[in-house]
């Protein structure tokens, strides 16, 4: 088994695990983590493509590397946005629960 094949199979495994996690879990945090796993698999696949595409005699094709760097930035931004939303959601839920219980006891 060559290195390229090994990396390719690992990429497939990561994508499969990530996809399963995103679809099978309902907790937002787990879903976002699974999305990152899925993303890692895709980026690895780009790396494999870079090895395979190096037919011109270069050690590797630089374009996928540039794409992967951009992709990582985008995935990082997406993860940050998701975590921010989760924090806001937790705070809003706590606030609304406090308001509701205050309404019930007539404490307002």
């Amino acid at each position: 088994m060559t290195g390229t094949t090994l990396y390719g199979l690992s990429a497939c495994l990561l994508v499969g695990m990530g996809l399963y996690g995103v679809l099978a879990h309902t907790a937002p945090l787990r879903r976002v983590l699974a999305f990152n796993l899925l993303g890692a698999g895709v980026f690895l696949l780009f790396g494999v493509g870079a090895r395979r595409g190096a037919a011109a005699g270069l050690p590797g094709d630089p374009v996928p590397q540039a794409l992967v760097i951009t992709g990582i930035v985008v995935a990082f931004a997406a993860t940050a946005l998701a975590f921010m939303l989760m924090r806001r959601l937790a705070a809003a839920r706590a606030r609304e629960a406090a308001d509701a219980s205050a309404d019930r006891t007539g404490g307002r």
């Binding site: 994508v15 990530g18 996809l19 995103v22 679809l23 937002p28 879903r31 976002v32 999305f35 899925l38 993303g39 698999g41 895709v42 696949l45 780009f46 494999v48 493509g49 395979r52 595409g53 094709d61 374009v63 996928p64 794409l67 951009t70 992709g71 985008v74 931004a77 997406a78 946005l81 998701a82 939303l85 989760m86 806001r88 959601l89 809003a92 839920r93 606030r95 609304e96």
Partner: protein
């Protein structure tokens, strides 16, 4: 003819002007300027002029505008390109954004130190970011560049959903984000496979290279599957109704009218420009089947909604279904897809739905503001309180039902003709039933709103300028009904 030699700087400006507006807002805030909606107005006026100039240039030259970023031609560099369809969609986006901004000006005009100030700043800067990303989706030529554009669009659209900060809308935004992220991961996976196969991601270059093999089909299937989740095609639509109904009215209008059209536009590009050979009939049947299911199921669900905004959001999912009929209806042996009436009908449906749905969400926002709620059962008296908004709602409804004279009428008539020509009787039946169901859910609202209220209503006044913005969008949707009933040449400009 496809490669106009002169680079068109208009395309760059279409991307940059909204971004400059967004950055100017941030700078203005740092400089102590407390209100940003003036900057947004200037940027929108500029963007509107640029979209108009692009449309004019495309019509005059009869060829696509192109621009190679940094002077690097593809496959090494990135290209921007606006053909007839892109030009129409750029103009549509600019008009919708402009009228939504007119509507939103009084709503998001708070000083920075007011409690509403943060929200106002967020709304205007997100609107600018969203517009720039949308324009990039419409004129990008590189599949990875388009991925970045789609992600920027998502990052601008998701926070718009939860501007009010309630737990319910935050939850809707989070669900929207998860769906969008799964969609973009699948899209990127397909992109990686295509790059591995062909060593380029430029759509024009790929068009001549792609072979009908397993890897290509798998890659495009992954990409289209991801985009379907972002475009909310049935049954991947469950994120859309809570997100679009929970957002403030101007944000809902932009999301429903424009944002869901971006992934659909990319599916069109992949289907017609990247996939090799004649389009596959079974795949087109699958699209049409899902579209038909969307029309029937979501129209019925819309009919059963108790909240006005949720009803309109379900109607969006149903109307998106019509767009996916297009893949089946453009298959005519011996005729390029863009010379069929199915192509014109589908594009007209896309554009007229954008105007009608934006008008409808804006009108619904005013009705809810005037009455203080949007329960359909208690709408009685809305006809007295906000007559102009209700009229706009009715006109927009005309287009959704497909009644003359309206853009929706011409679109649905063309799709119906195309279905009959293609011998797809079941599609013709679905289009007709969909029109009836739309008529049912629109008239249900109108009937309640025109009724006399049981007791005199205490309503809040709304600014007439906001009502007129909704009305203007509805009138554009109606005016689209004047488009000739044949393949429309503008929509075929720049096609290979």
């Amino acid at each position: 003819m496809a490669d106009a030699p002169a680079p068109s700087y208009l395309l760059v400006l279409a991307l940059l002007v909204p971004v400059i507006g967004m950055l100017a807002m941030t700078v203005a805030r740092l400089l102590g300027l407390r209100r940003v909606e003036g900057i947004a107005a200037v940027a929108i006026a500029g963007g509107l002029a640029i979209a108009g100039a692009i449309a004019l240039a495309v019509v005059r030259s009869g060829a696509a505008l192109t621009y190679a970023v940094g002077g690097w031609e593809p496959p090494l560099g990135l290209a921007l390109r606006a053909d007839g369809v892109s030009a129409v969609m750029l103009a549509m986006a600019a008009l919708v954004v402009a009228f939504v901004a007119l509507y939103a000006r009084p709503q998001f005009a708070a000083d920075d130190d007011a409690p509403e100030g943060r929200r106002a700043f967020a709304f205007w800067s997100l609107l600018m970011g969203l517009w720039s990303a949308l324009n990039l989706v419409l004129i990008g030529e590189d599949l990875f560049n388009l991925f970045v554009a789609l992600e920027l669009l998502t990052f601008a659209a998701v926070p718009l959903v939860c501007l009010d900060g309630r737990a319910a809308t935050l939850e809707a935004a989070l669900r929207y984000l998860v769906f969008a992220l799964i969609g973009s991961a699948l899209y990127l996976l397909g992109t990686a496979i295509l790059y591995g196969q062909y060593g380029t991601l430029d759509i024009a270059t790929l068009a001549g290279l792609t072979r009908p093999d397993l890897a290509t089909h798998a890659a495009v299937a992954l990409m289209i599957g991801g985009l379907m989740a972002k475009a909310a095609l049935f049954p991947l639509h469950i994120w859309l109704p809570p997100a679009h109904a929970g957002a403030p009215a101007p944000a809902s209008a932009v999301l429903s009218a424009l944002v869901v059209k971006a992934p659909f536009f990319l599916i069109l590009r992949l289907w017609f420009d990247v996939l090799p050979g004649p389009p596959s009939l079974p795949a087109a049947q699958v699209f049409a089947g899902l579209g038909a299911a969307a029309i029937l199921v979501c129209s019925v669900v819309a009919l059963r909604q108790e909240r006005l905004k949720l009803m309109i959001a379900y109607s969006t999912v149903a109307q998106i279904g019509y767009l996916f009929l297009m893949f089946r209806l453009t298959i005519e042996p011996g005729v390029p897809a863009w010379e069929t009436i199915g192509w014109t009908g589908g594009m007209l449906q896309l554009v007229s739905h954008a105007f009608a749905k934006a008008a409808m969400f804006l009108a619904a926002g005013l009705i809810a503001e005037a009455l203080g709620h949007d329960r359909i059962a208690d709408l009685a008296g809305a006809g007295r309180a906000v007559p102009v908004s209700l009229f706009a709602f009715g006109l927009a409804g005309l287009s959704l039902m497909g009644l003359p004279p309206s853009g929706g009428f011409v679109a649905k008539l063309l799709l119906l003709n195309a279905a009959t020509l293609a011998g797809a009787w079941w599609i013709a039946a679905v289009i007709s039933v969909g029109g009836l169901l739309a008529a049912a859910y629109v008239t249900r609202v109108l009937k309640r709103a025109m009724a006399m209220p049981p007791a005199p209503l205490a309503t809040r006044p709304v600014a007439l300028s906001r009502e007129l913005a909704a009305l203007a969008l509805a009138l554009i949707a109606v005016a689209l009904g004047l488009v000739p009933l044949q393949p429309f040449e503008l929509l075929a400009i720049g096609r290979p």
